[in-house]
Every structure is written in structure tokens, then in C-alpha cells.
């Protein structure tokens, strides 16, 4: 016991010293960028203002945080490291694993009803539109990219290009030729997958980070072309007045032939939102379903084999060119679907919606979710997109930090921070197990740490 007390004392000294050093580093770190602020004064000159209280507050918070880490978190981590790893998953875990998917699908189908029951008719638009539809678009994009990154192991940082191709295909064809959404949805997908093959072809030899950077370059090239080809795309100004999808030919408007009038309901913008919600839900589930089925086809197995070891694949006679191209094409097709849905939902598109940040968001959703795991991707999309959307709702923070405090400007800041933290916490993503697509007697999931992977 004597020794233990000794350790404890040494611990305190060390913790205090660490906290002091950390606070000092934080002070140095934030001195120029938080302690001082550049503002433009009335004469349009740059001047400096100081924010010493804020600087000292942040320094103190960082120091205190380090102290709390030494006293609370670190011992807990050490204790956890000593705990034996359970061999079989607990009963509760397998129960959750078994019933999670049916429950989740049931929940998303019932979601609009639940929201309307809780918030009433008028308050629900925001929750279904900003949360439901927004998250589902990213779930769908995540699942689409999951085919390329998660299954085939091809790191794609320019995925948003195909999303843009889908959106612009729908917008331009619908505005120019007046085709309906239902004709253009498959067309947008086809065009996007065509672009997937076109861009996929030159980069077949590349792997890993190099592939990521080249796809990033392609994504940016497509965006720059969209910006500068003003005759076709109207450049930065974007395309507005894109026709909305109709319910089997019945538009969602307040006219006599509108949805509400035809079904004898009172007009409300909510019907369109609910329709769009189920539309994107159906598209997302289609993506998931196709992926699940594809994994059992030869091509799906070839993708996963390619992800694990390309050389072995080639020696076993798998045509890696075709395998990679189909992955690119499939992924791009779903991005095209999502893009045309996006254009139809917004009614307005501009290059601003297709920046690199979107690609990074989608890729991070796939990796944070655990590459290849569809449930993981869905959870990551809910956490990351729902999390940033909920920042818009935190008005009570204004009462704490004063009326000038605007939580929305911290959205992307926290988004980036969350990416870093989740990676440190779980480098393999949230769902880091791998379920085999082919098995002998029983399906056994294994931890991803046990597979080699990641040279694709």
C-alpha cells in the first residue's frame, strides 16, 4: 500500500507538470490565431484586436482537460487494456446484431409518421427534410462509394464528380427536353456510370493514395469545367427552376390537378417532402440491396478478393481491369441516381454543391463507418450529417454565450475534429468486423484487424 501511495503522489506531480506543459503549448498555439484577430476597420485597413480573455480561457480549458485526462481517462484506459478480451460476443450483443437491421428499416419507414405524431403537421417539414432526406442522401452516397472503396478497395476521392454528373444530367435534360424524373433517373445513372468507366480507365494501374489523389484531380477538373462552361451549365450561377418529380404524373402543388386536390386533402408542402423522403429511402435501400446481392455474384467476390490482394487475384485469373471498372461504374451509377434525386429535390444546383469537401465527407463516412460494412456506413452518415445538422438547432447556446454566438459556423469545425477523433478512437471504423460472403458451416464475423487488406 505504501508503494501505491508513492505512485499516486508521483502521478500527481507528473500530471500537474503535463498539464502545465500542455497549457503552455496551447497558449503558444492559440496566441496568434485566437489571441489576436485581424479585422477590417472603417477605412478598410486591416487592424488587430486582442481577445486575451478568450485566449486565457482556452488555455485554462486545455490545461484542465489534460489534468482530467491524467486523472480520469488514462487510468481507465490502462484498466481497460488489462481486461481480458471476451472470446464470444455477449448475448446482448448478438441480440442487437440480429434485430438491428429489421428494427432500423422499420424505424426509417415509420420515421415521417413518428415525426408528424410528435411535432404536428407544420413543424415536421424541417425534421423530415433537413434530417431525414439529408441523411438518407449521404447514406445512399456512402453505400454507393462503399462499393468502390469498401468492397473493391479502390480509394476514390472524386466521387462527387459522378454525383455532379447525375445532378447536371437530370437538370439539363429535364429543362431542355422536358423528360420526366422517372425517365431521367436511369439515364442519369447510366451517364454517371459511363463517366465512371471513362475516368476509371486511365487510373487502373494506380493504387492507394495515388489513386485517391488522381480521382481528386478528376473531381476538381469536372467541377472547374462545370464552373467555366457557362453556355451549358450557367457557371457559378447554377441552374434553377429544375422540374420537380411528380407522383405518377400528379404534381405537388396547390393547383386543381395537384396532389392535395386530387386526393381531396388540404394543400401542404409536407406531402412533397414525405414523397421525396420515401423516394430517397427506396433509392438508398435499392443501393443496399443491390450491393448485398452483388457480393454473392462472381463479380462481387472478385471485388473483395481484389481488395485483399491484387496480385493473388491476377494470378488466379481474375480480370482485374474489368473488375475495377465494374466497381467504378456501379459506384458512379448510384452517385448518378443520388445526384438526379438531389437536383429534383433542390430545384436548383450550382457547382458549390459539388466541392471536394463533399467527396471528403462521403469518403469519411465510408471509412468512419468501417469499410465494407453497410450498417456502419449508415451509422456514420447519421452521426456525421445528423450531428452537423443538429448544430443548426442549438439555439439555447445563444443564451449561454450571448446573442452573437452562432452555432452553425462551428459545424464544419466540429465535423473535421470528429473525423480525427473517430479515427483515433477506432481506426478501422465504427463497425470493424467483417462478415464473410461465402462460408462453410456457419457465418463467423472476424475483426478487420485480422485481414491484410488495404493495398487497393
Amino acid at each position: 500500500m505504501e508503494g501505491g501511495a508513492q505512485d499516486r503522489r508521483v502521478d500527481i506531480v507528473r500530471a500537474l507538470r503535463d498539464a502545465g506543459v500542455t497549457a503552455l503549448i496551447a497558449f503558444g498555439l492559440f496566441l496568434p490565431l485566437i489571441g489576436l484577430q485581424t479585422v477590417t476597420d472603417i477605412r478598410n485597413d486591416l487592424i488587430l484586436t486582442t481577445r486575451w480573455p478568450l485566449l486565457f480561457a482556452i488555455t485554462a480549458i486545455v490545461g484542465a482537460g489534460r489534468l482530467a485526462y491524467s486523472f480520469g481517462f488514462e487510468p481507465w484506459l490502462n484498466r481497460r487494456a488489462l481486461r481480458p478480451v471476451p472470446v464470444a460476443p455477449s448475448a446482448w450483443r448478438s441480440f442487437v446484431a440480429k434485430w438491428f437491421v429489421p428494427f432500423a428499416i422499420g424505424f426509417v419507414i415509420a420515421y415521417p409518421v413518428i415525426v408528424i405524431a410528435l411535432n404536428g403537421f407544420s413543424g415536421s417539414v424541417k425534421w423530415i427534410d433537413n434530417f431525414g432526406i439529408q441523411i438518407l442522401i449521404y447514406v445512399m452516397l456512402g453505400w454507393g462509394l462503399n462499393i468502390v472503396v469498401g468492397l473493391a478497395g479502390l480509394l476514390d476521392l472524386g466521387y462527387v464528380a459522378f454525383y455532379a454528373v447525375g445532378a447536371y444530367s437530370y437538370a439539363l435534360l429535364a429543362k431542355t427536353f422536358g423528360f420526366s424524373f422517372w425517365i431521367l433517373l436511369p439515364m442519369a445513372g447510366t451517364l454517371a456510370s459511363f463517366w465512371g468507366i471513362l475516368l476509371g480507365f486511365p487510373v487502373l494501374r494506380l493504387r492507394g493514395d495515388y489513386l485517391a489523389i488522381v480521382t481528386l484531380a478528376f473531381g476538381e477538373i469536372i467541377r472547374i469545367v462545370i464552373i467555366n462552361w457557362v453556355d451549358l451549365t450557367n457557371g457559378y450561377a447554377g441552374i434553377s427552376g429544375i422540374p420537380r418529380p411528380t407522383f405518377f404524373g400528379i404534381p405537388f402543388n396547390a393547383n386543381e390537378d395537384g396532389f392535395a386536390a386530387v386526393f381531396g386533402l388540404e394543400f401542404s408542402p409536407l406531402y412533397r417532402v414525405i414523397f421525396l423522403y420515401y423516394l430517397i429511402l427506396a433509392l438508398a435501400l435499392l443501393t443496399a440491396f443491390v450491393t448485398v446481392r452483388l457480393r454473392r455474384l462472381p463479380v462481387g467476390r472478385a471485388w473483395e478478393a481484389l481488395r485483399e490482394d491484387e496480385i493473388a487475384c491476377r494470378s488466379l485469373g481474375i480480370n482485374t481491369t474489368n473488375t475495377k471498372l465494374t466497381a467504378f461504374a456501379m459506384g458512379a451509377m448510384f452517385a448518378g441516381f443520388a445526384g438526379s434525386f438531389f437536383a429534383a429535390r433542390q430545384g436548383f444546383i450550382s457547382p458549390e454543391s459539388f466541392t471536394f469537401l463533399e467527396s471528403a465527407t462521403i469518403l469519411s463516412i465510408v471509412v468512419l463507418g468501417g469499410m465494407g460494412s453497410q450498417i456502419g456506413v449508415a451509422i456514420a452518415a447519421i452521426v456525421m450529417i445528423g450531428g452537423t445538422e443538429i448544430m443548426r438547432e442549438l439555439d439555447f447556446l445563444k443564451q449561454i454565450f450571448g446573442p452573437t454566438f452562432d452555432p452553425t459556423q462551428y459545424r464544419m469545425l466540429l465535423f473535421g475534429l470528429a473525423m480525427v477523433l473517430i479515427m483515433i478512437w477506432r481506426p478501422r471504423g465504427l463497425i470493424a468486423t467483417r462478415a464473410p460472403s461465402v462460408f462453410l458451416k456457419e457465418r463467423k464475423s472476424i475483426s478487420v484487424d485480422l485481414v491484410k487488406e488495404g493495398h487497393g
Binding site: 490565431l33 486591416l46 478528376f218 471528403a360
Partner: protein
């Protein structure tokens, strides 16, 4: 001819800036095999630090000698940016070392988003422009009423870049730290066995990379006189292109790649279309990676089974 010469001068200036950033990419990639996506944003942060230091010196302390001010700004920016990058490496990359290959890349992308938004929140979203720091130019010659000029700030950029590259070369080629770096690049485990502190060497690599990015940031601020929170991404990608073109992992390659990218960009803007100048740089990246993946000076990446 005279347009070409002028563009050559502009291109070399721009290329020096890219080259300085590219060294950061190539060094980090060489030593831990990761594309440090946040490096472009570290460059942007350094430009902000330089801006703030410059304002302190001129408006608070009333320093009138621009040369002295620039010198101090350079040192301050290098110090603080090094600290920033050191902390980033400690917090965001070191815990992921030896982990799943994509994890550091995602962490770096997250860091890049964090940095640019942090600067946006802390310093405001508007472009920050300073009055011109250095004015004046040499007229080299005049032909057909077109004067080919070399401005003093371009000359400063050339001079500072050349001087720092010389220091940097000395550091990598002749000092103990440089030897340790090269050893870690070849084989980290073996380097650790013969007594190289690998963690410290990697930290120092990030510090040096940041210091060079800070030089680039200061030069960028002095040259263009304007900086905004979103200015990190495109120069970052172009500098990465430069590193790839020169052969990633090769230090002289990064500098030459930077100069080439700078020249390609200015020539493209002058003779073709300025709207598509980024397309030129990105196409160079794609073409290099497809046809010459090892770059101009890189070692070919031999795949072992």
C-alpha cells in the same frame, strides 16, 4: 518573346512557393508513407500567422524598416507554424502510426477541414488584404512597348527560397538529424534498432516541413498581399502535384517539380485560358501518375509479393 520572358519570371516565382510546400509533402510521404492532406492548410495558417506578425510589427510597434520586419515575420511564422504542425502530428497522426493504412489519410483530411474552418471562425471569413509590403521593380528590357520586369518582391522570393533550400539541403545531407531522417525513410525498425529516436525524427520532419511551408506562406502573403481561410486547398494540391511530378520522396525532385508546375501554370494562363489554369495543374498530376508514377527523380516502386 517578351511575354514569354515575363511569364518565365512569374512562373519561377510561383514555382518557388510551390516547391517549398512540396518539400513538406515529399518529406512526410518519404518518412511515414502518408499524404499529409492538411499540409496545404498548414501553409494557409502560416500565411495568417505572418499577416498577424506583420501587423504587430508595423502598426503596434511602428517598425519602419520593411526588410527587418519581413525578416522577423519570417522567423515568427516559422516558429509558430512549426509548433502547429508538431501538435498536429502528435495529436492526429502519431496515435495512428502503424494502424490501418487509410486511417492517417482520413485523419489528415479531417485536420485539413478543421484547420480551414478554425481559421474561418477565429479570423473571420473575409479576404484579408495588406497594403503592398515591397514595391518597386527592375525593368530588364523593353520591346514593342512591353517592359519585362522583375519586381523586388520576386527577387526576394527567389533569394529567400534559394537560401532556405541551401540550409535545408545542409540539414538533410550533413547533420545528424538528416542522417536519422534518411535512415527512418529506408527502414524505421532498423533505424530504431541502431539507436535512432524514430518518434522524434518524425516529429522533426513535421517541424521542418512546417517551417518551409511557413516560408512559402510568408512569401505568398508578401507576393499577393491577400489571404483567406480557403487559400490552403488549391496550392496544397498543386504542391502535391509538384511532389509527385518530381518523384515523391525525392527532395530535389520536389523543388524542380514545383518550378515546373509554376511554369506550366503561368504559361497556360498566358497562352491558353486563365479559367482553366487549375485544370492544367490537375491534368499534369493525372498524366504524371498514369504514365510516370515514380516521377522524374523518384525510385520506381517495386512491388514485392
Amino acid at each position: 518573346m517578351e511575354v514569354f520572358l515575363q511569364q518565365l519570371i512569374n512562373g519561377i516565382t510561383l514555382g518557388s512557393i510551390y516547391g517549398l510546400i512540396a518539400i513538406g509533402y515529399t518529406m512526410v510521404f518519404g518518412i511515414i508513407g502518408m499524404v499529409n492532406f492538411a499540409h496545404g492548410d498548414v501553409f494557409m495558417v502560416s500565411a495568417f500567422i505572418a499577416l498577424i506578425a506583420f501587423l504587430i510589427l508595423t502598426s503596434w510597434l511602428g517598425l519602419t524598416s520593411i526588410a527587418l520586419a519581413l525578416f522577423i515575420v519570417l522567423i515568427v511564422a516559422m516558429l509558430f507554424t512549426s509548433l502547429v504542425n508538431w501538435v498536429i502530428e502528435r495529436l492526429a497522426y502519431r496515435p495512428l502510426r502503424g494502424s490501418f493504412r487509410l486511417a492517417p489519410l482520413i485523419s489528415a483530411i479531417g485536420m485539413s477541414i478543421f484547420l480551414s474552418n478554425f481559421v474561418q471562425v477565429a479570423q473571420g471569413p473575409r479576404n484579408k488584404s495588406t497594403p503592398p509590403m515591397v514595391q518597386g521593380e527592375f525593368v530588364i528590357f523593353t520591346q514593342n512597348n512591353y517592359a519585362v520586369t522583375l519586381s523586388f518582391k520576386q527577387l526576394i522570393i527567389w533569394g529567400v527560397t534559394a537560401m532556405l533550400l541551401a540550409c535545408f539541403w545542409y540539414l538533410v545531407a550533413k547533420t545528424r538529424l538528416g542522417r536519422a531522417q534518411r535512415a527512418c525513410e529506408q527502414d524505421q525498425k532498423m533505424a530504431a534498432l541502431v539507436g535512432v529516436d524514430v518518434d522524434r525524427t518524425i516529429s522533426m520532419t513535421f517541424v521542418i516541413a512546417a517551417a518551409l511551408a511557413a516560408v512559402a506562406g510568408t512569401m505568398y502573403l508578401m507576393y499577393y498581399g491577400v489571404v483567406s481561410f480557403s487559400d490552403g486547398f488549391v496550392p496544397g494540391v498543386k504542391a502535391f502535384t509538384a511532389a509527385v511530378l518530381g518523384g515523391i520522396g525525392s527532395l530535389p525532385g520536389a523543388v524542380i517539380g514545383g518550378l515546373l508546375i509554376g511554369l506550366i501554370e503561368t504559361m497556360w494562363s498566358a497562352y491558353f485560358s486563365i479559367d482553366y489554369k487549375d485544370v492544367a495543374a490537375f491534368s499534369v498530376l493525372a498524366i504524371t501518375l498514369i504514365f510516370l508514377p515514380q516521377g522524374l527523380f523518384g525510385r520506381p516502386d517495386v512491388e514485392k509479393v
